[in-house]
Symmetry: C3
């Protein structure tokens, strides 16, 4: 069984946006009971991570730290014509994930109790992001 679905996610600004429920719905729609769920973001200035979904302060500190680690207006940057947040966005995407792969067992992703799947918007302005959710396995 192979199933794929595109999600369109509208982001308002920089930051982590939880998409676990949308991915879980796609896994349910796929009817895959045992297999793999692959989540793939079709952009280079947004990325994916699996992170703690229990306490919003963890999310906030992740955003804070990555902004501190990769600041805008680095005097060495030459790729600047799309704005000061663009090159840091590509670097943040390179240091996190374009795809995450999660085993599916008995119809459920094997996420831990506190794990959520997040789209990380790295650009400052709103964007429409396309994510492919792909499920492959047996029903």
């Amino acid at each position: 069984m192979i199933f794929s679905e595109e999600l369109q996610i509208v982001t308002k600004h920089q930051g982590l946006l939880e998409i676990t429920r949308k991915v879980r719905d796609a896994v349910t729609n796929s009817c895959v009971q045992n297999g793999l769920c692959t989540v793939f973001v079709r952009h280079t200035s947004a990325s994916l991570i699996i992170q703690e979904n229990a306490d919003p302060s963890a999310k906030r500190d992740l955003e804070y730290f990555l902004n501190k680690l990769i600041p805008e207006n680095d005097s060495g940057f030459t790729h600047t014509f799309e704005g000061p947040d663009d090159m840091p966005s590509h670097i943040k995407a390179a240091l996190t994930q374009t795809s995450v792969v999660i085993p599916v067992v008995s119809g459920e992703m094997t996420l831990g109790t506190w794990q959520g799947i997040y789209l990380w918007e790295h650009r400052a302005s709103p964007h429409s992001r396309t994510i492919v959710v792909h499920c492959m396995g047996e029903d």
Copy 2:
């Protein structure tokens, strides 16, 4: 053929713990000859990487560098109630991997000569970590 197994790994402290042999045993148990092996850690303060397994000094320097890059007690952190090592753990996990996917060809993972699979415990105190090893393919 689809096979999945949970590994329970007890960690003693922060650092890289090689799990290549345990993953290899799961691949053998799966009877998959050609396919994919996915290793997935069900936590957000521990992560996975594939790294050099020849010289322990590479492992030590990786631990040293990540601790220097993401120090405890950053004055900007707000997620502090689980201890000073908790928020750095989430950041280290976000910058490394929650899952690694390795092709299986002729019954063997296609790891290079010096590649090992590691669980990276980011917390200071001992933890019991659950890892899913999932194999899918043909026998």
Copy 3:
């Protein structure tokens, strides 16, 4: 359908080398119409990322930033016998990807318009790198 192919890529120096066309050719050869393409690098001092392929300045700034973030000759490094660029290479590999997984739909990888697949050589001198391209799915 399961197909795998090894690519040998000769690198001349540190930096990003686009391999999208070679991976696309392997997907075509595999005859997989719907499934997963996994790209896996069999080394620990080179890695993979999916990044912007439109403007060479993005590539250059990525290289610049990672070199600045992880400089050679850190006085804390002990793994130094293979040269000053070796330990930074392992760290850069740990912070990027050993494998990338891309859904295949209707015979094509679901890469976005500006996404390219890159081998990132982290060593200063030329190397021959082995990459496994693995395709699994239905024809």
